[in-house]
Symmetry: C2
Subunit: 257 residues, 2 copies
């Protein structure tokens, strides 16, 4: 990361190219390198690590970022990363950033989040990657604290080596910059969605469902992202993708297969 050249920064997101969040992210990272944008052409929230295997993908021009090389992708956030690297950049970027997401991606939300899955895909390809999310779902949310947080992370990115096959999950509380308490490095809280569905009936009387649910913020230890966010800090969870439950290997071995 400590070369003389400006780093090549690939920017993507999951709210789609039209969202305010990706514009804020582009503005915030532009001082730190050369920006190329490849982002979904439509909202892709909740797409997790989905990839498009049964359909074709397209890259299209966009007039939304005339000052940059920018494409929309017809697929998911992870598709955008893969296509961006293979067919736009023709090499791995030096840094991959995703977001700024309109909404929280703390705790186990990392699994549902297209924003974070794009960053995890970067980690799989061993690219220093960061996903940024603001705790505000509003389409017109105020991203000024987020832009401050992006700059704080980017400055350090350029000075330090990045752990291999890892990405950062950065969440920003919904506070003005001068009320943010600081930045905390955390673990992913054990917090889950308690699902429910809103059952309605269409004009023919047939039922349909909207997924809803309540996020159970029960794991509030001081070392968690949830605690940090609840107390006014930006949370950073270093994130990897080895999902092995190492503690359970001996337990399952005792099943005597």
């Amino acid at each position: 990361m400590m070369s003389d050249e400006r780093p090549l920064i690939l920017v993507t997101n999951d709210d789609g190219i039209q969202s305010k969040g990706i514009r804020s992210l582009v503005n915030a990272v532009a001082p730190f390198g050369d920006v190329v944008i490849v982002a979904p052409d439509k909202p892709q929230s909740g797409m997790g690590h989905a990839i498009t295997v049964n359909d074709v993908l397209r890259l299209n021009d966009t007039r939304l970022f005339p000052e940059y090389t920018a494409y929309t992708c017809t697929g998911t956030p992870v598709d955008s990363v893969k296509l961006g690297i293979s067919e736009v950049l023709h090499r791995k970027p030096d840094i991959l950033v995703s977001g700024i997401n309109h909404g929280e991606n703390s705790a186990s939300n990392v699994l549902y989040s297209g924003t974070m899955s794009a960053a995890v895909e970067g980690a799989m390809e061993n690219i220093p990657s960061v996903g940024f999310s603001l705790l505000d779902f509003d389409a017109d949310a105020d991203f000024s604290s987020s832009e401050w947080a992006v700059a704080e992370v980017m400055k350090r990115f350029l000075k330090h080596d990045f752990p291999k096959h890892t990405c950062l999950n950065v969440n920003i509380p919904q506070l003005p910059v001068n009320e943010v308490k600081g930045v905390k490095v955390c673990r992913q809280a054990k917090a889950y969605w308690e699902d429910s569905f809103d059952k309605r009936h269409d004009q023919f009387g047939k039922p349909y469902y909207w997924l809803k649910g309540e996020f159970n913020r029960s794991d509030r230890s001081e070392d968690t992202d949830i605690w940090a966010l609840d107390h006014g800090y930006v949370s950073i969870v270093p994130t990897q993708f080895d999902m092995t439950a190492y503690h359970a290997i001996s337990e399952i071995n005792a099943w005597e297969f």
Copy 2:
């Protein structure tokens, strides 16, 4: 798991209700409990942990499993699990099984796999959950070894406590039952896709892309799922969803935020 009643088993998959794999799974688990099926109405391979948040979901009847309570879901594998629990069972099942997938889900494929994401969703809801995958993409693959492996796992499920918030990732080699060497409990190999795209042009001369790639099986330590499968064993990786890179916390703390 050691009650006198027959356990309630929720069955789902990602290849869709029409696939041969889910029929094999239903047949293999039926002796062990009461089966209810909620599965996607169309192929959902590669959907990872995607959920449907910007569209409605439906549950539809199916004539494919007249002897069971069975529904198709218009969404993803994870949607099928959530809808199955909330709107079909109205309670958590005792066991959740997903598959049998037509194709391998070893190593980091766990992140892309709808089959495994359904099982991980089960783990998040603290339901003993297993995803099964056969190393054969053929729509008419021979699932007899897989059915043997399902029975081997199910027998032990009923006898032992299951580690909390964990699921099993079971992969079955493409071998006749009498050539399978046994069952190995493993860790997730560090193996990745080397992506490429097949670029073609449509009837208007505009480019489009098919995702392809080569699976780099470079991590072949004896404790990995890849090693087990390459040597004729069924692999079982206990799988969890805390993606924190604990080893990197001190490293990122040294960045002095």
